[in-house]
Amino acid sequence: MSAPRHIRTPLARVRGFGAARSGTGAFWHQRVTAVANVPLTIAAIFIIIMLLSSNQTGVARVLGSPLVAIIMLLFVVSITVHMRIGMQVIIEDYVHHDRLKLALLVGNSFFAIIVGLASVYGILKLSFGL
């Protein structure tokens, strides 16, 4: 029996390199958020049109009211989760250089989380007036 070329186990060598009973996770989350995005986007457009003629005080009052704030929070969370997966698919399809792909995938996560949490911050500030 020849000596092994390295002492890392097969599991250690494949860890972090992709699907291990989680391959359909992104696919499924993409569909769930897509379904959620339809009514939430319609609601958000309705809210925005309602607020077009308002000044900041009026906009802040409506956006900070419980029902509107909860709808906008759901909207922001659902679209940012959805768009993060979508942009990941685009990057994985078109960027074949590993290092650049890695950098773009990290940047994609940062962008989605920053935009998402910044929006959530705005809505919570309007709701609680912190």
Partner: protein, 141 residues
């Protein structure tokens, strides 16, 4: 596309044959709509910056007047009109994809009809939304 290197472990990548790509095919409506679905998705991705800006401007960060000045400017209006169409088009395209996910709408006539309805519907809905929006603001300015 071929011969791109740079794998993380430094090993050369095997040169494997690739499937035919876009340049092989004659443009078709369903194919163009698939491309546009991606492009509108990417546009909406960056459009969320405007959403975050609007929400935080309303919350008093950076001044609401600055956001209003942008949204009321002609370049702002063009961007927002494009953003509106992009969101609506991507939403209708998404509904089309959900229909396909259930295994329906793949027939030769169905898929053409769905693609055309997606395009016509997105333009019509965008125009209706902007007419309603401009009327809500007291007519076009």
């Amino acid at each position: 596309m071929m011969a791109e290197t740079g794998s993380l472990d430094g090993r050369a990548r095997a040169e494997r044959p690739l499937s035919p790509h876009l340049q092989i095919y004659r443009p078709m409506l369903t194919m163009m709509m698939s491309i546009v679905h991606r492009m509108t998705g990417a546009a909406n991705y960056f459009g969320t910056i405007l959403l975050a800006w609007w929400l935080n401007a309303a919350a008093g960060l950076g001044g609401y007047a600055r956001f209003q000045a942008f949204a009321g400017s002609w370049i702002g209006r063009i961007i927002l009109f494009g953003f509106t169409w992009s969101v609506i088009h991507h939403m209708l395209g998404g509904i089309r994809h959900l229909i396909w996910d259930f295994g329906r709408g793949f027939g030769p006539n169905e898929r053409e009809w769905l693609a055309a309805a997606n395009l016509v519907g997105s333009i019509a809905i965008t125009i209706v939304l902007w007419v309603v929006g401009l009327l809500a603001m007291g007519g076009p300015q």
